[in-house]
């Protein structure tokens, strides 16, 4: 039986091959499996939020139908187009790296990076408008007006919506006589009677009737979901910037392009999550 060849007797390794892999192919396959597993964890991270969204939307559809009209469909659509276009440039960048077209690679990565920035800029405009209109989460939800298109008879507005008690501050020490959390403001659990009374009579995309209870839940979801997504966009932009710097040094080519490839996969995932967020938050009927 012949001894297997010692590791050191291999032909000279390319600079990018780590010492513990036996071939660039093995290294690439490992990286690919690794990034796909990481994307799985990202999807699962968001899936918890999607699950919570589903629970609340199933129990309280009226909140979502009423409040979604506060969001700007044109801005949301613009952002969707920006991200889809950036996915295209990212995919082209991977192609350019594989073909060894470094100049194109750098340009396409720069465009992708710019699109990421544009997306966050539009998001900033939207957040700013929500802030100014008092459309915030929890106890900070103090809307100035009902959403566009909604027909809300002013006399039917529930008193609780205008005069909400403040949030309970954390209490030092232990007080057990009674809870300092005020009783739940209003609203039965399960499908709201308002929802059951409103839907048959009117088209479902336009709200008729008093403001539903607990509209702030919609904005909790809106800010948490788009905020977490925005953090992921920032992370993706960081990764693209890093790849851009390396691409300018001419590190990538047909033999070695895995960082571009893997960053691209991550960017597509960020895009994909937005493609789910957009209809779930903006396009409710």
């Amino acid at each position: 039986m012949t001894e297997p060849a010692a590791y050191t007797e291999k032909p000279a390794d390319p600079w990018h091959l780590a010492h513990h892999f036996s071939s660039p192919q093995q290294q690439f396959d490992s990286g690919k499996l690794g990034i796909w597993l990481f994307l799985t964890t990202e999807i699962l991270l968001f899936s918890g939020l999607f699950c919570a969204y589903a629970v609340f939307r199933a129990n309280h559809p009226e909140i979502f139908v009423y409040a979604h009209a506060y969001l700007s469909k044109p801005l949301g659509a613009l952002n969707t187009m920006i991200l889809i276009f950036s996915s295209f440039t990212m995919a082209s960048a991977v192609r350019a790296a594989q073909l060894g077209q470094t100049r194109w690679l750098v340009r396409l990565l720069a465009v992708t990076l710019f699109c990421g920035g544009a997306f966050l800029g539009v998001k900033f405009i939207e957040y700013k408008a929500k802030w100014e209109e008092g459309l915030l989460t929890g106890g900070d939800y103090r809307p100035e007006a009902p959403p566009p298109g909604a027909v809300v008879p002013p006399e039917q507005k529930p008193a609780a919506a205008t005069a909400k008690p403040q949030a309970a501050a954390p209490v030092q020490g232990l007080v057990i006589e009674r809870s300092s959390i005020p009783p739940a403001a209003v609203g039965p659990s399960g499908l709201s009677p308002q929802w059951l009374a409103n839907t048959p009579a009117h088209p479902a995309d336009r709200w008729h009737g008093p403001e539903p209870y607990n509209v702030q839940v919609f904005f909790s979801f809106y800010f948490v979901m788009t905020g977490l997504h925005g953090i992921h966009v920032l992370g993706g932009m960081g990764a693209i910037a890093w790849v851009l710097v390396r691409a300018r040094r001419g590190e990538f080519g047909p033999r070695y392009f895995s960082p571009v490839d893997f960053t691209g996969l991550y960017w597509h995932l960020v895009d994909l999550i937005w493609i789910f967020l957009f209809p779930l938050l903006y396009l409710i009927t």
Binding site: M1, T2, E3, P4, A5, Y7, A18, H19, H20, F21, S22, S23, Q26, D29, S30, L33, G34, L37, F38, T40, T41, E42, L44, L45, F46, G48, L49, C51, A52, V55, F56, I63, T137, G138, G139, D140, A167, A168, P170, V171, Q172, G173, L174, I176, S179, S180, I181, P182, A184, A185, G187, Y213, N214, Q216, V217, S220, F221, F223, V224, L228
Partner: protein
């Protein structure tokens, strides 16, 4: 009997490997910035043991408080009837839980022992992503530091489960740093999981087909799947909790229209599979130890391997049993109850296969095997009481009592921690290159076993009589059980001190370890003790993981060696990475 050989004076024939992973480079920086999986494993080990000491001190303080019905350390006086005096106790059980679960049990066997052993068992030079591995470690340290900071500011008193809305609205403790620590440690756990899955998939040597993967690696693989799939949900839950506490977004707070039970669903969606993160690697260690010290091929290899994966998968569908009395619907309760009982099947498969391996094996009662026997005994009790808890009727009776506490500790300490310590004994010669004292090791094991049962068996009894968990005081009728329990905790503490002393003595004075002191058959025993920096010069030839045909005792080495090729006729030497897609 082979054991006598270990107590003899060291033979002269052991070839001393001067350049091993411990001596390859020197200096603090060479450790802190290392990409070597072995050194990272050792750093994990040191950190985990430090956290273990911390968590143990919290436990001892709790047991001291419970020596008297009204509380020994904190109690109300006739002048002051303020229940706030008990707040430190709430902080103690919170910190004990957080430290032991997130800092000891979850990283213990997979990240410390697994990091060291996994590439060696594969005949590989390192894990697939060594830099990510170092990142995992530092994220773990960062999370641990955040937890320590939260203790220094104002320790949380929410319980390790962080139930809302208490954790988001009322608790005065520094909940955010503690939760952020757990969140960061979650990332560390995810990265370790990804690393292990990719390593096992892509860095196996050519001859190691899936039915030749050692069972410890099957355990680590199943663990890594849970880490990758469940931990992100915990991450999102803890993130929501932080956002909720900061901005009162109200998804978990009924005051703002949210749903507190949703938090419990999310939390247990991770935290129930997390108990399998803790127990599955321990079961893997168990399989290795049983196969080595019974001198037999493991009985039912395929079933033991598949049952690890089965436990991991079923474990995802049982989380609702933590909320039986919390307002779930009846049908949901029934489904979760049935799914929970299903876990008993693969667990039983494992236990019976281990017993069948021992049957007619030539059992060598060295220290790791003693821990394995303890595991069988304690895990059987822990597992069977789990069935009581899975049954709806008994669950409603004993929910949130000491019965649950005892069950959990029988599985987690008696199962996971015993095999962590057993595995530490098993791989200690490989990690340090030194043998420990067998006699002291065995006495330590026996003492720990006695102390453990003294602590937790009475808790089953007081639990069934209605002693609620997380209570700083109790009715006098429970005093005997609690005092026994506290004495047992002290015995365990002394046993752990003895074990630690045994290890420290071994580091200073222990005799040099041969490459294969136990007669293990997996690949980590093929390289020297401690292993060289690059693990293997040649891609090792791979046969069945528990094939003992070519293993023989060599008195000149003071250990075992391979006397021939392990390969069946017709199979050539493997070349790593070739011809596998």
């Amino acid at each position: 009997m082979a054991t006598t050989a270990f107590d003899e004076t060291p033979p002269d024939g052991i070839p001393v490997q001067e350049d091993n992973y411990l001596t390859h480079r020197r200096g603090i920086a060479s450790w802190l910035l290392t990409l070597d999986h072995k050194r990272i494993g050792v750093m994990y080990l040191v950190t985990v043991l430090a956290a273990f000491l911390l968590g143990g001190i919290f436990a001892l303080l709790m047991r001291t408080q419970l020596l008297r019905p009204e509380g020994l350390l904190f109690h109300m006086t006739p002048e002051s009837q303020d229940l706030a005096v008990y707040r430190p106790f709430n902080q103690l059980f919170t910190l004990h839980g957080v430290v032991m679960i997130f800092l000891v049990l979850i990283p213990g066997t997979p990240a410390a022992l697994g990091n060291f052993v996994l590439p060696l068992m594969l005949g590989a030079k390192d894990v697939a992503f060594p830099r990510l591995n170092l990142w995992s470690y530092y994220l773990f340290v960062a999370g641990a530091l955040l937890a320590v900071v939260s203790i220094l500011i104002n320790a949380a008193d929410t319980g390790w489960t962080f139930y809302t809305p208490y954790s988001t609205e009322r608790s005065a403790g520094a909940v955010i740093p503690l939760v952020a620590g757990a969140f960061v440690i979650g990332f560390s756990s995810i990265f370790t999981g990804i690393n292990f899955i990719v390593t096992i998939h892509k860095l196996r040597p050519a001859g190691m087909k899936w039915d030749r993967v050692p069972l410890f690696l099957w355990g680590l693989y199943a663990t890594a799947v849970i880490q990758v799939v469940a931990t992100p949900v915990l991450g999102m839950t803890l993130l929501l909790l932080i956002v909720e506490r900061l901005f009162h977004v109200g998804i978990f707070n009924s005051y703002y229209g949210g749903d507190p039970l949703l938090f419990q669903h999310f939390f247990w969606f991770y935290s129930h599979p997390a108990v399998y993160i803790m127990i599955l690697p321990a079961m893997g260690v168990m399989s290795e130890v049983i196969a080595t010290f019974c001198r037999r091929e493991i009985f039912g290899y395929r079933f033991v391997a598949a049952s690890s994966v089965a436990i991991a998968l079923i474990g995802f569908l049982v989380w609702g049993h933590h909320m039986f009395p919390n307002g779930q619907s009846g049908p949901l309760d029934a489904i979760f109850s049935a799914m929970t009982m299903l876990v008993a099947i693969p667990s039983g498969v494992k236990v019976w296969n281990w017993l069948a391996t021992m049957y007619k094996g030539s059992i060598v009662l060295l220290t790791p095997m003693c821990y394995a026997l303890c595991f069988l005994f304690l895990f059987a009790i822990g597992g069977l009481t789990g069935l009581f808890l899975a049954s709806l009727a008994t669950n409603f009776h004993v929910h949130d009592t000491y019965f649950v506490v005892a069950h959990f500790h029988y599985v987690m300490i008696g199962g996971a921690l015993f095999m962590f310590i057993g595995g530490l004994h098993y791989w200690w010669p490989k990690i340090t290159g030194r043998m420990y004292n067998e006699t002291v090791g065995r006495i330590g094991c026996l003492l720990l076993f006695v102390g453990f049962n003294l602590t937790f068996f009475p808790q089953f009894i007081i639990g069934t009589h209605g002693m609620p968990r997380r209570s700083a005081s109790y009715k006098p009728m429970f005093e005997t059980g609690h005092v026994l329990s506290s004495v047992g905790a002290l015995v365990q503490f002394l046993a752990l001190l003895l074990i630690a002393g045994c290890f420290v003595y071994s580091l200073c004075r222990g005799r040099k370890a041969p490459a294969n002191p136990w007669g293990g058959t997996t690949l980590e025993w093929a390289c020297s003790s401690p292993p060289p920096h690059d693990n293997f010069d040649h891609p090792p030839a791979v046969a069945g993981p528990y094939d003992r045909t070519a293993i023989a005792w060599n008195p000149a080495l003071g250990g075992y060696e391979r006397t021939g090729s392990p390969l069946p006729p017709g199979e050539g030497p493997g070349v790593r990475g070739a011809s596998r897609s």
